[in-house]
């Protein structure tokens, strides 16, 4: 924690990083988004790009996780993920049920594997 000062200085650093490094992507999207047509070809393409990007993020979160998920063996992560997705596709496409099922399997797998 060397780089972040206590109190006000810390807030200032976080606000500056957000305003200069993170939020400008949203502002740029706003400027471009105002000019494109929701039925048009460009919109359809950018939508496909966003979708593929989120799917890639999903794969990264499962295969190369940060934090406590890292302590679960990769086989259990992938297996629980596949079962959750399978449950979603086969059992009525209920998102909440699939999420609960997959997370429960992951916890059970982690407990059983020690």
């Amino acid at each position: 924690m060397s780089a972040l000062d206590d109190g006000f200085g810390g807030y200032l650093v976080l606000a500056l990083i957000a305003a200069l490094a993170h939020e400008p992507w949203r502002w740029a999207g706003l400027l471009v988004g105002r000019r494109i047509d929701a039925e048009g070809e460009v919109f359809q393409w950018v939508r496909a790009v966003s979708t593929a990007l989120v799917a890639a993020l999903v794969a990264r979160l499962v295969l190369f996780p940060a934090g406590a998920l890292d302590t679960v063996p990769i086989g259990i992560r992938v297996g629980a993920f596949a079962c959750g997705l399978g449950f979603f596709l086969l059992a009525g496409r209920r998102v909440w049920a699939a999420v609960a099922f997959g997370a429960t399997l992951l916890a059970a797998g982690k407990l059983l594997s020690g």
Partner: protein, 254 residues
Amino acid sequence: MSPPPTPEPGKSPAMAAPTWANSATRPQAFLRGFVVMVETPGLVLFASALGFGALARDSGFELGHALFLTAVFYALPGQVLLVDQFARGSAILAAAFAVSLTGIRLFPMTVTLIPLVRDDRSPRWLTLLVAHYVAVTAWVEAHRRLGPLPAHLRLCHFLGLGSALLCNTTAGTAFGFLLVGGVSAVVSAAFLFMTPLYFLTSLVATSRTAADRLAVLFGLALGPPLFLLLPGFDLLAAGVIGGTLAHRLGKHYQ
């Protein structure tokens, strides 16, 4: 994964507008969005934020800084990365650069959201708030819900969604910071695991065209190798390559 795309004109039949939308006012549309707080997306986001709150405390953040970071970033991957960088003692500029790379994905997501909520009656500054509310959970929900709604209700409905999700992620950060530190690694792992599963099942649930489904498949397949080849730029590369291929191939089904 999903059933083979139907050969008929690209899109499956448009979803019908929910019955509440027939006579709703704009404040009612906002409230209908705000209810997401206690629905699956809100609860999953809350659970993910618990994991972030615990991580922030373990990394030596103060509670106030963790909550402020959540509010101004409103995007968990960037938050996790920044906390991690500070915990490793990275220079502020290096941390900001890494964070900026995680923010790139917000650009195409905002581009596709804005045309959905655009209307002539709302003040322009409100769209700045709309842009701030762009994050994966809100984006996925918006694409699921906004299309069938009458155009004049969409902006308010999205603001309701985004405001509620901001409450969820901030509350989750606070609870995680204060409580989850004492919870076992198994529970933390299960919480963190909900996010990718929620994202993917929602993407599949939301996909209407062949291009949507192909984009999901290509993104999943390209993500891991590109993470190893181009760390930092992996999501952008997977999005552009996978999305472009999906868009091209999807047109063949039409």
